[in-house]
């Protein structure tokens, strides 16, 4: 499978994602410069973490108008699999591909540490290799991860099982204390209503191999690969 990794000016987790896709998964990873206008030949798209455009104005606010974003909107509309990690999540929010917005962390601090997240929905292309309720340890590294949306949208996210990850204790209890940034309803990751676009603040690419002492994040990439393979088999069968 061919995973496109979008590179914005200021992206800094693009190489980590490329490394995981090519060296850990053994699949093809293609860097895609933000000026590209076509995503042809790609099976999935990754918007990596970083500080696109220096986070000027708001995180993701400028990057969402990069030429490649039109192609990503179209790719997503056609059902293509899109994952945004950290700054990638922030860009997807600004682009309206996912609902809501990010506020500064409650503590005002940039937080860089391992957190635990609970898989609230294991029936997504991004979590198919996880168990429902499984606790994953994945690092976060952000200053703006305090997810906010209006009450009506939050109710819809809850009702449609669009909340995919929530911050929790190592035992899997979703508590105020386990919420690192003040995020609404302990939200760490959400998907769109159609289910093919996911945004998450934790960095699975930083915890995807034994050499790093933690490979929980690999499950996200394995799930994506698995879903892509199944979709391809289905297409061939049809």
């Amino acid at each position: 499978m061919n995973f496109g990794v979008i590179v914005f000016p200021g992206s800094n987790c693009d190489h980590d994602c490329i490394h995981v896709i090519s060296d850990v998964l053994g699949e093809q990873a293609t860097p895609v410069w933000h000026k590209e206008t076509s995503l042809s030949g790609l099976d999935a798209v990754i918007l990596p973490g970083g500080f696109s455009y220096g986070d000027y104005l708001r995180t993701g606010a400028i990057a969402r108008f990069s030429p490649v974003m039109k192609a990503i909107q179209q790719f997503a509309k056609e059902g293509g699999m899109v994952i945004g990690i950290c700054n990638g999540f922030q860009i997807l929010l600004e682009a309206g591909l996912l609902p809501g917005a990010m506020l500064r962390n409650r503590s005002l601090s940039f937080i860089c540490r391992d957190v635990c997240v609970k898989v609230e929905n294991a029936a997504t292309p991004f979590t198919g290799c996880c168990e429902s309720g499984q606790v994953l340890k994945i690092p976060i590294a952000h200053a703006e991860g305090n997810y906010y949306t209006d009450p009506v949208t939050l109710a819809a996210l809850q009702a449609n099982a669009q909340i995919v990850f929530r911050y929790c204790t190592p035992e899997g209890r979703v508590t105020p204390e386990s919420n690192p940034n003040g995020s609404l309803d302990n939200i760490a990751g959400i998907r769109n209503a159609e289910g093919n676009v996911l945004g998450m603040m934790p960095h699975p690419e930083r915890s995807a191999e034994d050499a790093l002492g933690n490979d929980d994040g690999r499950l996200i990439f394995l799930s994506m690969l698995d879903a892509l393979k199944k979709a391809k088999l289905k297409a061939v069968g049809a």
Binding site: L57, F65, E94, L103, N105, R106, S107, N146, Y148, G182
Partner: protein, 80 residues
Amino acid sequence: MKAKIHVTLKSGILDPQGKAIEHALETLGFKHAGNVRMGKYLELDVNEQDKAKAEVEVKAMCEKLLANTIIEEYRFELTA
């Protein structure tokens, strides 16, 4: 024309920076300061003489890019 634009978090939305500033003011002994809200201030030239048209254009800039209306509100004034 010159546009002077203020962007602030909507009321009711937690403003951690405003809170931190409020605490600092309290610590400094400013007992009468409260409800601090921090925002952004932007200035830009609009190459348009018609005030009504300039207003429409600046509003569009705010809606599309300068403010995220999910969490922020904006106001602006136009001067010659």
